[in-house]
Amino acid sequence: MTMNHEKEVIADTGGLSRRDVLKGGTALGVLSVAGFGTQSLAQAAVPSLPMAFRTEVEVAFRINGAQTALALDPRSSLLDVLRDQLGLTGAKKGCDHGQCGACTVHVDGRRVAACMTLAVQVDDLDVTTIEGLAEGDVLHPMQQAFIDHDALQCGYCTPGQIMAGVACVREGHAGSPQQIREYMSGNLCRCGAYPGIVAAIEDAARVMEG
């Protein structure tokens, strides 16, 4: 095996520089550990073209079923793009750091925190927000259950709770109140509507699994 001892890469804060690794006996020592996959090192070392870095990124995705295309500052969070560029203000900003769940949306059917998702990462994917959940005027069973159980007060966390609740049922995590409580704990409700939320999800799960 060959390594380029001349090359010096300055480490950033997260990892060692190449030079540090080379100085560290441990790191070199484990290079000989056997059993790594099927590719040989020679195959792995075949040079491959780097991708170009872009300052502005063209992104196309489906939002609530409709195709959309945007040119984005790659810093933009999916949440800010939904709210500020697409006018979909149902998803809320409660923390901007993945700590509260108020921004929960579905990406390819999975619940995610939109505030912690780079908008460029949903390129070619399906995004569903609370605005896309009902079928026209017909509420999704989860929305109806939230009304029936008064599973909300101020309503600020509610879109996120409902999107999380729908996913919770689809994932198969609504099997018991205890399981619902665990799998809904990523959605803070400061009004304290938790018991109603659990009851609503139990109810909606019965309808959804009908």
């Binding site: 890469v9 950033d12 790594f36 996959g37 990124v57």
Partner: protein, 330 residues
């Protein structure tokens, strides 16, 4: 957050090449749950980001053979649900589903999770705090500060920040191997050698170079996984980091312990293997007394700080409880 340029390679080789081409200040992003978070806090300030989410070869999960192979881009939520992990390696499944929230587990990659950075407030929240990890040479405000959540093991005069993750703690108990790709090819690192204690260079969390990418996690599929648990004690019932956690696994033969694994989370600068406590159990029956003894041994040598001395007693009990849960599954 600083502006950055963005690239999204479509395969591993291209990703490595892109990372190299980016040069200084280039960082990977996968799920983004750590990286994007720290970028918003201006703790990470990459000028270029390489998005590896399209590397399909890193998304496979092979759990049927005598070695479990979990691709680095497998999402935590998916691995947590794997039937074999649930049945034969509950320690791994539990470590995954007891972390963060389902939204974040749907996003976070296994590889990224291993490299999750510390929750030390002095690290995360920038000026005016001294932090050698964020700003080498500036000092450590946590020593003598609000250090309830800091490390009792593996700290140094330069840094006492605790490693916050769960999955790596479970993996260290399972002797996992980490496959890594870089410009010079591929290599394998035992998980115990992936993370670095701070020593005099707390800015380096891991032994990876800035140009390397975790490809997959391999776990020997031996019998010690079956009777295992990840016991995590938090300040609330869910969606919180560990105050103390313990991965525990035992293999019982003829009523006595033939193999024991104990690792600690929330209390050390790296995922912490409690080898002496494991050894103390070999050849003995697991009962309340031997489990408690193992717990005490696991916390021997702990260096308590001004606000976390309680974790010595708590931690010993958590290890003991974890062992009893694990043994109950034997």
């Amino acid at each position: 957050m600083k502006r950055f340029d963005y690239a999204r390679p479509m395969d591993l080789e291209s990703a490595v090449a892109t990372l190299s081409a980016g040069g200084e200040g280039t960082r990977l992003i996968a799920g983004g749950t750590t990286m994007f978070d720290l970028m918003k806090l201006d703790v990470e300030m990459p000028g270029r980001i390489v998005d590896i989410n399209n590397l399909s070869e890193l998304k496979t999960m092979e759990t049927s053979g005598d070695e479990l192979r979990l691709g680095a881009l497998v999402r935590m939520a998916d691995a947590a649900e794997d039937a074999r992990l649930k049945a034969e390696f509950p320690v791994l499944s539990e470590a995954l589903w007891k972390a963060a929230s389902q939204q974040l587990r749907n996003m976070a990659s296994l590889g990224g999770n291993l490299l999750q950075r510390t929750r030390c407030a002095y690290f995360r929240h920038g000026a005016p705090f001294a932090c050698n990890k964020r700003n080498p040479g500036s000092g450590c405000a946590a020593i003598g500060g609000a250090n309830r959540s800091h490390a009792l093991f593996g700290g140094s005069d330069a840094c006492i920040a605790a490693y916050p993750g769960d999955f790596a703690v479970a993996l260290i108990a399972m002797d996992a191997l980490i496959d890594v790709a870089g410009p010079q090819g591929r290599r394998t690192i035992p998980i115990a050698e992936l993370h670095r204690q701070p020593g005099t260079q707390p800015q380096h969390d891991a032994t990876l170079s800035s140009e390397e990418i975790i490809v997959q996690i391999r776990i020997p599929a031996n019998a010690v996984g079956k009777a295992s648990t990840y016991h995590k004690i938090r300040d609330r019932e869910s969606y919180a980091f560990a105050v103390v956690s313990s991965a525990a696994a035992v293999r019982i033969e003829n009523g006595v312990v033939a193999d024991a694994r104990i690792a600690l989370g929330g209390v050390a600068t790296v995922p912490w293997r409690a080898s002496r406590a494991e050894q103390a159990l070999i050849g003995r029956r697991i009962d309340a007394q031997t489990a408690a003894e193992a717990g005490r041994i696991a916390f021997e040598g702990a260096t308590p700080l001004s606000h976390n001395a309680f974790k010595i007693e708590l931690g010993a009990n958590v290890v003991s409880d974890a062992l009893m849960i694990a043994a109950g599954r034997a």
